[in-house]
Structure formats: structure tokens, C-alpha cells
Amino acid sequence: MNVEMKSYCWDRLLRGVVRNRIMSDAQRQDLADFILSQNPSAELEEAVGHFLTGELTEDACLTHYQRVDTAAFRASLAPPPDETRAVDARLKALLEMA
């Protein structure tokens, strides 16, 4: 998963942080690929197609993506926990067989 794109989408749509960036063609393609990788559907493919040709703005494209499947969208963009800690334990076992 494109971590940078994930973070960007999270901030922009779920936290309301607007960065007003000017997108290069590469960035536009990156976002399009990300959206389709998360939720490939005919409806979104059409929207992304319009986004890539400039007929649809980034906000409109992202909003469309969010509207199609909000639950999946939130799940896909949920940031990783701020801090995780691995813990483990072991237990001795024995099997007695005749």
C-alpha cells in the first residue's frame, strides 16, 4: 500500500486537512491507482477516468470514493497505531506416547 497516499487521503477526507497541492501527472496517477487498488468498481473506474483527464477535481474524486464505500474507506485509511509493542510468552509441553 502506498503509505504516503494513505496518509494524505486520511488527512484530507477524514480530518479535513486541505493542503491545496498542485498535482503532477504522476501524483494524479498515483492517487488514481491507490483508489482503484482499494475499491475496484466500475463506478469508481469511471470517476477515476474523469479525474485523470481533468474532468473531475481531486476533491470530487476523493469524495466520490468515500461515498461509494465509507466503511471500507475508513478501514483502508485507518492509520497504524501510534505505538505498538510486541509481547510474547512460551509454555513447555510434553507428550507421552506408548
Binding site: A86, V87, L91, L94, A98
Partner: protein, 200 residues
């Protein structure tokens, strides 16, 4: 600070009790941990032994024994065949539970239970076939976590039990049924269990 304990439902009461440094012993009797399992059969008794096996530490009531019969059936403490499920296997009938306690509230991710050879966590237990089942996640079949002859076992993807994740709390419990048999005669000591998770 987080602590993990393996607990058996045993002793006076019975009640869930920390297995501590004891060994979980799969044997051929519900009441005597020194009775070996008949060749190629599955465990008919599960006990807490002080060593290999050492003195029985279960107390008045022995640990529950859940025996593998088929991929979807079990025998609980010598009873008849039942489908393995949350309905048929009560929490207090499970072989053990794993208790994670944390001073502060935590959630979990990437939680696994596995068997290994006691030395290298990614290496299967030696000459052991073992199945595990987690109660509480609507499972209806055993999961094979060790098969030495088939090179299955250890802390490896697809060869361990992927446990249910927990939401934020200070105490978490995973209830497990475990069943094992040897692939050859004799005692099997290159056989340990491992549990791991990530808390956040």
C-alpha cells in the same frame, strides 16, 4: 507493563489457574499424567506437570482434555463425539486460556499461537501432530498447527493459529482447545507452545 499467563481450568473449584513454570502434559489418562497415549492415538488427558512430566500440579480437578476426533469434531473429557464449536465447547471446557494483563488499557493486533521445538520458534515440534481451536470466534473446525512429518509447525504463516484481536481493555483472554499425538513411540519433549501479539 504487560504480563502473559497460560492458565488451566483446574484445582479446587475448579478455577482458572496460572500454569507458571509447569509443563502442559498430554497423556493417556484423565487422572494420571504418567499414563502414555496409545500409539497413534490422541490425548486422553491433559495435565500440569512439574517437570517432564514430574508431579501432577493440577490439584483436585485436572485440566480439561479436548481430544481431536476429526477436523470438525472433538471429545471433551472422555465424552462422546461433538461438533467443535462455541456452542458445544464452553469456556470452562477449554484446554487452556491465555491471559494478557496490562497496567494500562491496550488493544491487540497480529496475535498468534503456535507450537515449536522449544529452541527455534519457526521450527516445528519434533515428531508431533497438533491441532488447535480458538473458542469465541465462531470457528467450526480444528486448525493444524504442527505436523512434523509434513514440515508444518512453528511461528510461520499458515502453520499457526491466527487468534482473534481484542479491543481496548486491561485484561484480555483467549480460550483454546489443544490436541496432540506423537508420530512415533516414546516421550516427546521437543515440544513447546508460543503466543505472541502486538499491543497498542
Amino acid at each position: 507493563m504487560a504480563t502473559i499467563t497460560f492458565e488451566g481450568y483446574m484445582g479446587a473449584g475448579p478455577a482458572w489457574a496460572d500454569l507458571g513454570a509447569n509443563t502442559v502434559v498430554f497423556a493417556g489418562s484423565l487422572t494420571d499424567l504418567t499414563v502414555p497415549i496409545a500409539t497413534t492415538d490422541w490425548n486422553d488427558g491433559t495435565h500440569a506437570g512439574a517437570d517432564d512430566p514430574g508431579a501432577d500440579q493440577c490439584g483436585a480437578n485436572h485440566m480439561n482434555n479436548v481430544k481431536y476426533l476429526t477436523g470438525g469434531t472433538m471429545s471433551v473429557n472422555g465424552g462422546g463425539s461433538e461438533a467443535i464449536s462455541d456452542v458445544n465447547l464452553a469456556e470452562a471446557e477449554c484446554t487452556m486460556r491465555i491471559h494478557l494483563n496490562s497496567a494500562s488499557t491496550v488493544a491487540t493486533q497480529n496475535t498468534f499461537f503456535y507450537s515449536f521445538n522449544g529452541a527455534v520458534v519457526t521450527t516445528e515440534a519434533v515428531e508431533i501432530e497438533c491441532y488447535a481451536f480458538e473458542r469465541g470466534v465462531t470457528a467450526t473446525a480444528w486448525t493444524q498447527i504442527n505436523d512434523d512429518s509434513g514440515n508444518i509447525g512453528g511461528d510461520n504463516a499458515g502453520e499457526r493459529l491466527d487468534l482473534g484481536e481484542k479491543t481496548t481493555a486491561t485484561d484480555h483472554y483467549w480460550y483454546l482447545a489443544l490436541s496432540a499425538r506423537g508420530e512415533s513411540a516414546g516421550g516427546k519433549t521437543s515440544f513447546d507452545f508460543g503466543f505472541k501479539t502486538e499491543i497498542f
